[in-house]
Amino acid sequence: MFELYFLLLFMILGAIIAVEMKDLLSSVVAVGAVGLGLSVAFLILKAPDLAITQLVVEILCLIILIRATIRRDIPPLERGKEVVGSIMVLLFIGGFLFFAYSALKDLPSFGHPIMRVSQNYLAEGLKKTGATNLVTSVILDFRAYDTLGEATVLFTAVVGVLVVLRRIGRKKVGEIVKEEDE
């Protein structure tokens, strides 16, 4: 799995660039590169459904982020970074990685999963649902309730965005309120 290691290294480098650059547009582009690398990683791990969905979702996220930052690029005044806070965060992350490494030994080794429930889905998926794409049969027949929950979350997010971005609200003195149709 040499290409998977290489891709993960590329994603880690992209993430470090996205975190450390001072220019906002460059870091948004770097996080877009990390997302596209993730889509290729899904393809290497034999998950084509996820690769398509991650690609298009990443493109939409990039468009919305660039739209939000393109004309508002005023860099904040750096009045000296907080050194004590950064050191404490680095210590916390070091401790977290140490404990995670000793906990990862209990997981099954990479490439040999324990598929206790999925053996059932793989063996009887075609007979019970009639669909040949087994991932679709899992999300829309065996676990359709989760899809209902996800549709509700999306609906709530859209309603939330349309409420936050309204112009009709409180009027300040001297401000002209434009009537907007939503």
Binding site: L8, L38, T53, I64, L122, A157
Partner: protein, 111 residues
């Protein structure tokens, strides 16, 4: 070993959320954390030498990777999109009101 690299990606995102002062950098950190968690789940379900979970007409052997984590992460990717869209819209409103993205200056609570 590959799990550890995935967790390093996760910790880069956590560092970005906790240390940076620009609001857009915090949103980028949340995005990196989401990518790392989704990748970790799919790494758990990979079977060495397996096929994609799509049935074929003339298939001989049925040696597929795990379809259950893929179904769960499909939901998670779309929910991640919804969360990102919502917090970007809140950030745009904050910029309109305060004129800056710096979180140390956005502290006034309206009574």
């Amino acid at each position: 070993m590959i799990y550890l690299m995935c967790l390093i990606l996760f910790s880069i995102g956590i560092y970005c959320i906790l240390v940076k002062r620009n609001l857009i950098k915090i949103i980028i950190g949340i995005g990196i954390v989401e990518y790392a968690v989704n990748l970790f789940f799919i790494l758990l379900g990979y079977r060495a030498g397996g096929r994609a979970p799509i049935l074929d007409e003339k298939q001989v052997v049925q040696n597929m990777v795990d379809p259950l984590p893929q179904a769960l992460i499909l939901t998670a990717i779309v929910i991640g999109l919804a969360v990102t869209v919502l917090i970007v819209s809140i950030a745009v409103r904050i910029y309109e009101k305060y004129g800056t993205f710096d979180i140390t200056k956005i502290r006034r609570l309206r009574g």
